[in-house]
Structure formats: structure tokens, C-alpha cells
Point group: C2
Chain length 671, copies 2
């Protein structure tokens, strides 16, 4: 089917790929984005394309950090200026607009938008909201969120920063008592923000009430100089996200009004009475949301990498398969397909998982409004697991795509080094992956206990497979059609086995005299495995359900191939662990058959490979990659791109003039 | 045992670790480096420490690329100046000296030392050597090696650059006919080198004789300006190695004298007669050498990452295992040990594999001098496999160590992002890993054929396991002592199974009518697996042999623990594939037992963890990491390091003055 992606002047090798599509690319894009958002995307892309103020003057990868931050500040102001033109308040529209303009390396309002404003909406009482929210939304002030400290990350209860109530002055005294209590890492804290919501241990009348949130002004609104008692700065370059001025902050007994503690739930009265929140765990809702958004964002990162890797693999020719018949597109090699296609399938699977968890989150919110909290524990567990599994798979996947581009993948021209640097940060921020997997496991162990006790009421939408009888032997065989439901059943089997096995190990260790904590630590590697299996089941199930609902027959057909590849490939990977569980669920023949299914699915997908990445609708501007360009005109553009390297400003560089030249001259002049 | 690594003022948490050592750290260092080289290392480290000219004025990670290149040029000139002081011509001494001064990000003489000078030694005839070598060694000229082109990498036979002999003028005309023939990637080509050995298709009297090497002058020796016909420049920033000016080069019919073709083996006479080399494949020797050096270098990279990760994990405290008993060192968590200790074991295993392949290479050279080439094919196969397996494992391992450092691992202060960027390049340069694995597989398929035909004469030192009968069932069991030889036998079994299985698949496909090339492509993913298994067996075997020869009892004991962890962990990973081969070699109980061996070995290693990384003898200067400092004083030094960030030069940055400030002011002034 002819694709709107074919344009005159394109590399014919790419056009040839697009002509092979067996489905309408836009139909698949509509499935991914929804009809309406796809339309807005096209409109927003056009707006950005035709508005030079929103563009980089030259590729940011050639800029120093200072230049990057300055360029991003210029663009974010322009972005705000043209925001009304996109004429939408929808999260996805604004997010797309921002992606097109700011790319993946962070910007001066990253934390303002993601944390400061949402917290002012959610954690303030009415009076506070009235006072602060309009100022923040209009951009009169820029804020961030300062929780992590130099010596304290995941274990929030051990934060050292204190906020001590002084009833006489109706003020809190916020203080960093030690080096390790220095706030460290908060995005945009170093140079850009003039306010922050600071997390500190609340002390009232000598009692500690644990971490609470306080609005602290950091810099003078007119001069932007740090206020007295505030020591603040940038924490230096990082693996990625270098356009963001992640910062440090020390507070030397800084006084703030009582009304700058966020008081929607907990309160401190004027005379120093502490009022506890009604629901202790309502804070989890925000974490579920952020982690859910991360899943979609990470899926997009992998989609970008696949777009670059697959398009370039149809442009690059290297080596002959049949001697004398000419160099082939590298995508013809099975090894190249094996590097790229499972990642493509994962990008789709993670994408749908991200959509699904957002839907579940919306259901959670509806429930919370009616004081129903039953979805909260399982969604907290699921979003933790998803964040951990998806960020790790995406990081590995981006690297596979990058390495599949050979030498050119190593150049920043591919955009993939920077994309990796950004994406892999997701394994660490918003909760270290291992810590999150252990949180998921804690929930799963509770469920395992319930399931063993046959307490059916505890079976929830994401865990009901633990409460059911299942076949002890997979019915997969090469002689009958491969139904996705038998594959899903296998994912369930693996998750169950891992969950119940580690549950029993822990119980046995407790019987041998270990405390619960010691037993869990001794089993923690296996607990992480169990969490991963539970999460992978959710992703697989969601993919399978999504495919089943597609109405466009051609799209359904190609997505069925993608799902088959995904399910078989993941199963072969997971099934490995079964060997060690002395499990007869799979026979060797069945696993070997599944692997042949992987290879066959790669062949089936091959003709649709480029259309399948085109359907992600990733704009050249968003992708920012010379290798992944829509038009496939890679080589001439690589040459042009390289000319811009700052080292090329002069024919002879100062390194030569000052050091190497004199050295060589001196050596030549010696006899 | 008290360690010389304990110094007053150290972080007591690290000193406590060092006091737990059950072995003399220097004895292990001597095993790693040899007694003599360890002495030179200490001497060289002292020289560098006490010579300010060899130091960075501030951390290079804060510099722009131009500043990095200039700083490196200054240092390399100083390095040459003080080279006589180290009073050694040994490769390992000079390499260490260079590592201490130049770190891992490349420098202006990288390619000069690694490629230009060695090629002038090996590929020139006597007259050429006399003329060029002294100039290169003295540093009168700086050269590089230009092979890869914009459109051509691995498949050297398809290079487009031509060198056409003009007998009338006794010259070659070197030319880049197309955009894709532009030389692209050669290190130091862009701005630093004034000469290059260029690879071009040799044309004589209308006949093409394939790729040959030519000395081409690129820049004027006095002005350093590019010569007529030469278009040259830097190719821009990359994932890593940014201090190196990897470059591009176009040659517009550049004329060079006939005597600038490297003529040790092939020759072109004055009147245009082409003389073929005697041994076509002697060139492989050089590749074997470079890949062998890479194995050792990559092992060092992983050793650095382990040093950072393990030391920091004894400084960082987070969370409580037993509630109320205080935050523990994060290394107490099983999950943290599982992230780090298998990497530590791999670093040792790869280290010894690197030493072993260098020994085999020396034997190869001895043989070649007597015209014995029988070691060449197996060493070519082995070095290809090792390069591929080790670079990939090391890259993944560095990332594990980095992520084990949590947020601070993401900061360049950890040195791990830059280390990863450098190390992962090794997966691509000197032969893409997948291409190399397929080369190894080609050799293995030949050996499989011989083994099946019972042609015992073909059995060579690295492949004789293919020619032997082996048990069909592993004798590993939890009731008898775990002997490393039963573990090695299991590696052999896995390699054999994978090799013979894919061999048979290919033969069957050929019987079904596929050409050999088609059949190999259809089986190429499995061929890569077979190569990996063969390589992992070599690494395992080498580790086991090395440990067996240790005479110091305390060192032998701790290294035995490391080897047990390595072998069991690798086997559990490899064994997974057995499930799919319908193999009864391992029972589920045996694999489960092996995993328990892994967990037990981690417990045993725990007290020696810091001494085991101390033994790598990695100097703070070489490591360049705030997190991995010998003294463990991490937090105060992180704080100091961050002050140097260029964004901290002024309290208020230009991004605010020009853009954000005016924007906020304007919003505040609106009603």
C-alpha cells in the first residue's frame, strides 16, 4: 500500500520498503495515538516546523552545557509564547509539542511542569492553592521538588533535612545539619528555579513527625541571587539530561512562614498542634501516576531507537549473501533482524502496557474519589514492576538498535548515544529498579499467602491467575495453530512457579530461625525474578488483548505477527529459568519449536519492518537523528552534519598551535 | 590481614573492610601483574603523582571538546618529555604510564602509537622502514590509519577509494570517487595527524588488485594546512572517546610517489608490474594482536567499574535489614552483591583470558617465524570470539556497577558514564561483534565436520573437546565436594551441543536445497550462540587453570571462591539454553543446586570484596572517580567536585539574564 511517507527525492531503498506495506500505516498510527490526537500531532508538527523561534540554530550536541541550557531557555520561552496556538489543554498534545521543541535532554521547566505545579494542585489547602498555583502556572515563578539528599535516596524516612516549628514567630526553620543532608539531584534546582518544595523532617515541640513538604523561596525574584542561608548550585555533568541543571542545596536555618508547609493532608496549627492525614497512603497515587507516564515515555524512546535502527538497516548495504549478487541491505541478515525485531515488538508491547496502566490509573482515581482504595496496592505493585522491567528492557533495546547501526550508531549523529543516556536514567530515578521490584514482590508474597489459603476474595484483576488451577503441561505443539492464549498461559505458569517457589523458600528459612527480614534478604534475587515474571505476564496479556480488539483486518494481521514474535521471544527468554525449577511444563521440543516461531515471525515481519516504524509517527525533528531520517538520505547529511563540529571552525586547532606543532618542529630540528 | 591500602583519615567503613582481608593484597596484585611490573607500576605512579605537568588542571569532564583536545595535546607532549624517566621499553609499563596520564577518553597520539608506527614496522620494505620509521618514532610526524569509509566498514573488499598507478610519473593517484568513499572514523585523522596510511583499491594497467596500504601526506609539515586535493575534518561528538578527533578525508586525485605504497609483501614495480605476497593471510596476525590487547584492556575497564561499585557500596548506607538496628552498607543486600560480585568474577576471568591469549599469540609469532601457521586459524577464531564476548560482557558489567551506585553512578563524578562510553565502543570497532562471532563460527563448523569425520589430526588445543567422548549426564551433586573440573566439563558439553546442533541444522537445510550461504544466514543467530559457548568455555578453562597454579595458599583460597562464583554463575546463564536442546545433561535439581552455589559463593566472597578490588591496584588518578576513591571520603569530595561545574561560575547564568528572567518579570507585571 502506498504510504504518505514516500516523497520524491527519498532514498529509493526506503521507498521500496514502504511500497511493500501490507497495511495502511495511518490506521496503525491511529491505533497507537487515537484518531484525534494523531490529527493534533500533525497540526502541532506543522506549527513547530513553520515557527523558526522554536528551532535549534544548530545541533545541540555540538554545544557546551552552558550553551545548551541557554538555548533551551530561549526555546522554552518561545514554547510558552506559542502554546496558545496549539489550542489544546490535553496532556498528550502539550507533551508532544514539548517533545518536538525540547527533545530528550531536559529543559529549564522540566521539574516545574512535572512536579512543582502538580504538587501545588494536589498537596495544598484551598488558601495555599489560591496563593501559589496561578503564579506557578503563569510562570511568574519557577519551582522544583527537592527530596533526595547527598547521602539519602530511596529510604525517605532517613532524610536529614529538618523543619522545626517556631510557634512564637509562626515559622518553620528549615536546616541542613550535615554534609550528607545537602539536597542533591533535584532537576532545575541548581540555576533556574527560584522556589522549591523541600522535603524535611517535621519537628513540632520536640517531636519528629517524619518527612513533610515545604515551599521554600531560594532566590530573589528580582535579582535571582540566592537568598540568605541558601547555598545552591549545579551538580555537574551526567550520563544524560545535561540540559537540566540538576542541583544541590544547603539550608542554613532558613525561616519560612507556617503557611508554606503543604497542608492538604497533614497540618500544623498556629499554636503548634500537629494534625495527621486521614489516609496515610494517599501519597502513593502520585507515584503510580509518574511511573505510569514513564512507561509510555520509555516505550517512545525504544520506538525512536527502532525507527533509527530499522530505517538505517534498509539504507546501509554491506556484504553479499549470494556471492557475486551485490551487497544487500543489512536488514536481510538474520542476525540483524534478531537485533532489531524483538526490540520493535517490545516497543509495541510496552506502548500498550503504558496505555493500559494509565487506564487503570484513571479507574483508581475514580475509586479514590468514592473512597475506594482496593485498586491502590495492586496498582502500586504493578506500576513499580512495570517501571523497573520496561526501563531496563528499553535501555538494553536502545543499545541493541545503536550497535545494529555499526560505527555510525556510535556517533551522536545517530542521536542514539544521547537517547540511551536519557532513557537509562529511568532505571535509577523515581525509585531504583531493584528496590521497586522488591516492593512488587512484597505485594506478590501477600497474594501468594492468600492464594495458598484459598482466600479468593483477595484475587484481584492483576493477580487472579495465582488463585486458579492451571495445566501442569503446556499444550503448545507444532502441529496445531499457535493460539496466543496458550502462550499467555505459559507466562502465567512461569510467574506462578517463581512466585510460589520463592514464597516457600522464605517460609522454610523462617522455620529455620531467620527473621522475616533476613529470609527476604536471602531470597531477594529470586524475589526480583518473581516480580519480573509477574510484570512480563501483564505486558504479554495486555498486548494480546489489544491485538484481539483491532478491527482493521490488515492492521490486525501485521500486529498479530508482531505479537507472535513478542510472545514467543519473551517466553524463550523466560522459559530458561524453568530448567532450574525442575519443571516439566515445557519439553525441550516445545521450546525449540517456540524458537523456530521467533525466526519465522521475523521473516513474516521483514517486509513490513519500515512501515511498522513509520507508524510510530516520529517526526524527524523529534528524532533528531541523521541515520533515521524519513527520507533515508543518510550519507550526504552525515557529511554536512560533521562540518558543524566546533573542532572544524579552523583548519588548524589551538592544540596544534600551542603544543603538537612546536613539539614536532623541535623533533625535526634535532639532528 | 592489614593492608597497605589503609591510611589515616580514610573512611572507617572502608578500613573496616580492608582489615577483614584473608589474604595479602599485594600477593594477588603480583599474580595479576607480575612482580616486576607491579614494582614499575608503583614507580611510574609516583613519577606521575609528583610531576604536575602530567596532571589535568581541573577535571576534563567539565571541559568542552576543544578544551579536552588541547589539554590532551599539552599532556601528551609532557608525557613524551618524561618518557625517559620511566626507564623502560616494556609495552605494559608504557601502557600504564599512558593510562595514568591520558585516562580512557583517547588522545592525539592514540592511532599513531597503536596503528601508524606498528604498520611502518611490519608492512614496509627495508628502504621504506629506514625512511619513515625514525621520523614517526621521534614524533617529527604524526600519522594514523585510514581504512573505513562513510559507506563501507566490515566488508573491506568493497572499499571505494582507488590508488591508480601512473607509470609515466612513477606515482599513484589516490582518489575518493563518491560521497560514500569518504574516509570516515579513523582516529586522530580530523585535526591532529599530518600523515595517514590510507587503504585503497590498487589499480595497475586497468586491473584491480584489491585493497592495499599507501602513505599519504595530509597536511603541510610547517603550516599544518591541508595539502591540495585533501578535504579533511573532525566527524563530531560521539558516545565516548571524545578527546580523539576521529576524522573524515576526501582525496581528489592526490598524487603520491610509487614508494609510498607499503611494499613488504605486495609490490608494484617501476614499470607497473604487480607482485603478489607469498602468504595471503599473514595480515591476520595483526588483527589477532589488536583483539588480544583489547581483551586485557576491557578486563581493566571492568576492574575499574568493580572497584568503584564495590568500594562505594561499603561507604553508602541505606535502609535497615533488621528494623531499628541502623542503616547498613548497601553491600549487605543480596541483590547488591548479585549486581557486583559476578562482575568482579568476570573481571578476573577476562583478565586471565587476556593474559592467556597474549601467550598464545607469542607462540603463534614464534611459529610464524618458522613458517608454521597451524595456530593461526584457531587463534584468529578464538581472538574474534573473545573480543566479541568480552566487550559485550564488560559493557553490560560496567552498567551493572554504575546502576549499583544509584543516582551518584549517573553523575560523571562516578567516572562510569565515560568509562561505559569508551568500553562499549569496543563492541563495534576492530570488527563488529556479530561479524566476529560468525567468523569464529565458520571455524567451528569446519572443526565440527572434522570431528564428525573423526579426523583427529584436526583437533587443536582450543577445540580438542569436540573430538572426545563426553558424559551425557553431569555428575554435579550437592552431596560431594564441588570440583571445578565437573563444571568445566559442563561448559564443554554446552559448547559441543550448540556447535553440533547448528552444524546439523545447516546440513539439513542444504539437503533441502538451500545454498551454503543461505543456510548459514538462516542459522546465523544459532551460529553466534555456538561461538559464544566456545569462547566462554575458553575463559572458564583458563580461569580454572590459572587458579590451580597459584602457590600462595591464602590467595588460592580466595581466588577459588571467585572461580566457583564465576563458573557456577556462567553455567546457570548458559544452561538455560539447554532446555531448548531437549538435553538431559542437567537435571532441574542440579541447576537449582548451582544457583545455591552462586548465592553461597557471594556470602563467602563478601568479607574479601574490597581487598579483591584493591588487588587490581587501580590508582585514584587512573580511576578518576569520586565514588571509587581509595580513601572512601566520597560525600565531601562530591560536594567539592560539583563546585567546579562551569554552570557555577556565576550565581546568575545567562540563560536567566537573557530569557527566563525577562519572561518571569513580564508575567509578574501582567494584571
Amino acid at each position: 500500500m502506498a504510504s504518505q511517507y514516500i516523497v520524491e527525492g527519498d532514498n529509493p531503498d526506503l521507498s521500496q520498503e514502504r511500497r511493500k506495506a501490507t497495511f495502511r500505516v495511518d490506521s496503525l498510527s491511529e491505533l497507537l495515538y487515537g484518531v484525534e490526537h494523531l490529527k493534533s500531532r500533525r497540526m502541532i508538527a506543522k506549527l513547530v516546523d513553520t515557527t523558526p523561534e522554536l528551532h535549534d540554530t544548530f545541533p545541540t550536541t555540538f554545544m557546551s552545557r552552558e550553551e545548551k541550557v541557554e538555548n533551551a531557555a530561549r526555546k522554552i520561552v518561545a514554547l510558552m509564547k506559542y502554546l496558545p496556538s496549539i489550542n489544546s489543554f490535553k496532556f498528550e498534545d502539550i507533551f508532544y509539542y514539548q517533545s518536538l521543541v525540547m527533545h530528550v535532554d531536559g529543559h529549564p521547566l522540566s521539574l516545574h511542569g512535572v512536579m512543582f505545579v502538580p504538587l501545588l494542585m494536589q498537596q495544598t489547602d484551598e488558601e495555599q492553592r489560591q496563593k501559589w498555583l496561578p503564579r506557578a502556572i503563569k510562570g511568574e515563578i519557577i519551582g522544583t521538588y527537592a527530596q533526595t539528599e547527598l547521602g539519602h535516596g530511596t529510604n525517605v524516612r532517613q532524610l536529614e533535612t529538618t523543619a522545626t516549628y517556631d510557634a512564637d514567630n509562626e515559622q518553620f526553620i528549615v536546616n541542613s545539619p550535615t554534609v550528607t543532608s545537602t539536597k542533591w539531584w533535584p532537576g532545575n534546582l541548581g540555576k533556574v528555579s527560584n522556589y522549591a518544595i523541600v522535603v524535611a523532617q517535621l519537628y513540632v515541640k520536640g517531636n519528629c513527625y517524619g518527612p513533610h513538604q515545604f515551599i521554600v523561596q531560594l532566590r530573589d525574584e528580582n535579582t535571582h541571587l540566592p537568598l540568605p542561608g541558601i547555598t545552591i548550585g549545579d551538580i555537574g555533568p551526567k550520563f544524560g539530561i545535561n540540559t537540566n541543571d540538576n542541583g544541590f542545596l544547603r539550608l542554613n536555618n532558613v525561616r519560612i512562614p507556617r503557611k508554606q508547609m503543604l497542608m492538604r493532608y497533614s497540618k500544623v496549627t498556629q499554636n503548634g498542634q500537629y494534625i495527621r492525614p486521614i489516609h496515610e497512603k494517599l501519597g502513593y497515587g502520585g507515584m503510580v501516576f509518574v511511573r505510569s507516564v514513564m512507561v509510555s515515555q520509555q516505550a517512545l524512546f525504544l520506538a525512536i531507537a527502532c525507527t533509527v535502527g530499522i530505517r538505517y538497516s534498509c539504507v546501509r548495504r554491506q556484504g553479499e549473501i549470494t556471492p557475486g549478487s551485490g551487497e544487500v541491505k543489512v536488514l536481510e541478515y538474520q542476525t540483524q533482524q534478531y537485533r532489531l525485531f524483538p526490540q520493535l515488538a517490545r516497543a509495541y508491547a510496552c506502548w500498550f502496557a503504558g496505555k493500559r496502566i494509565m487506564t487503570l490509573y484513571a479507574e483508581l482515581l475514580d475509586g479514590l474519589n468514592e473512597n475506594k482504595t482496593d485498586l491502590l496496592p495492586q496498582l502500586h505493585a504493578l506500576s513499580s514492576g512495570l517501571k523497573a522491567v520496561v526501563t531496563h528492557q528499553v535501555a538494553l533495546g536502545i543499545e541493541q538498535c545503536r550497535m545494529a547501526c555499526g560505527g555510525h550508531g556510535y556517533s551522536n549523529a545517530s542521536a542514539l548515544p544521547e537517547l540511551y543516556g536519557t532513557a537509562v536514567g529511568g532505571c535509577t530515578y523515581e525509585g531504583d529498579n531493584i528496590v521497586l521490584l522488591l516492593q512488587t514482590a512484597r505485594f506478590l508474597m501477600k497474594m501468594a499467602k492468600m492464594a495458598i489459603a484459598m482466600n479468593m476474595q483477595s484475587a484481584s484483576v492483576t493477580t487472579k491467575y495465582l488463585f486458579r488451577d492451571r495445566p501442569t503441561k503446556s499444550s503448545i505443539n507444532q502441529y496445531s495453530a499457535l493460539d496466543h492464549s496458550v502462550l499467555i498461559e505459559a507466562f502465567e505458569h512461569i510467574a506462578c512457579r517463581l512466585i510460589f517457589t520463592v514464597y516457600n523458600r522464605i517460609e522454610n528459612l523462617k522455620k529455620c530461625g531467620r527473621t522475616r527480614e533476613e529470609a527476604c534478604n536471602e531470597c531477594s534475587v529470586d524475589l526480583c525474578k518473581a516480580s519480573r515474571a509477574h510484570t512480563r505476564l501483564f505486558i504479554a496479556q495486555t498486548l494480546s488483548n489489544t491485538i484481539a480488539e483491532i478491527t482493521d483486518r490488515n492492521v490486525a494481521a501485521v500486529m498479530n505477527d508482531v505479537a507472535t514474535l513478542y510472545l514467543a521471544h519473551e517466553l524463550v527468554e523466560c522459559a530458561a529459568g524453568l530448567l532450574e525449577l525442575s519443571d516439566d511444563y515445557f519439553s525441550g521440543q516445545q521450546v525449540a519449536y517456540l524458537r523456530s516461531v521467533v525466526y519465522k515471525a521475523m521473516n513474516t515481519i521483514r517486509p513490513n519492518a519500515v512501515p511498522l516504524v513509520d507508524a510510530f509517527d516520529i517526526n524527524d525533528r523529534e528524532m533528531n537523528s541523521v541515520l533515521g531520517r524519513r527520507d533515508g538520505n543518510v550519507y550526504e547529511n552525515l557529511l554536512q552534519w560533521a562540518q558543524l563540529s566546533p573542532l572544524n571552525k579552523t583548519d588548524v586547532i589551538t592544540a596544534y598551535i600551542k603544543h603538537l606543532g612546536p613539539y614536532m618542529k623541535q623533533e625535526r630540528s634535532k639532528i
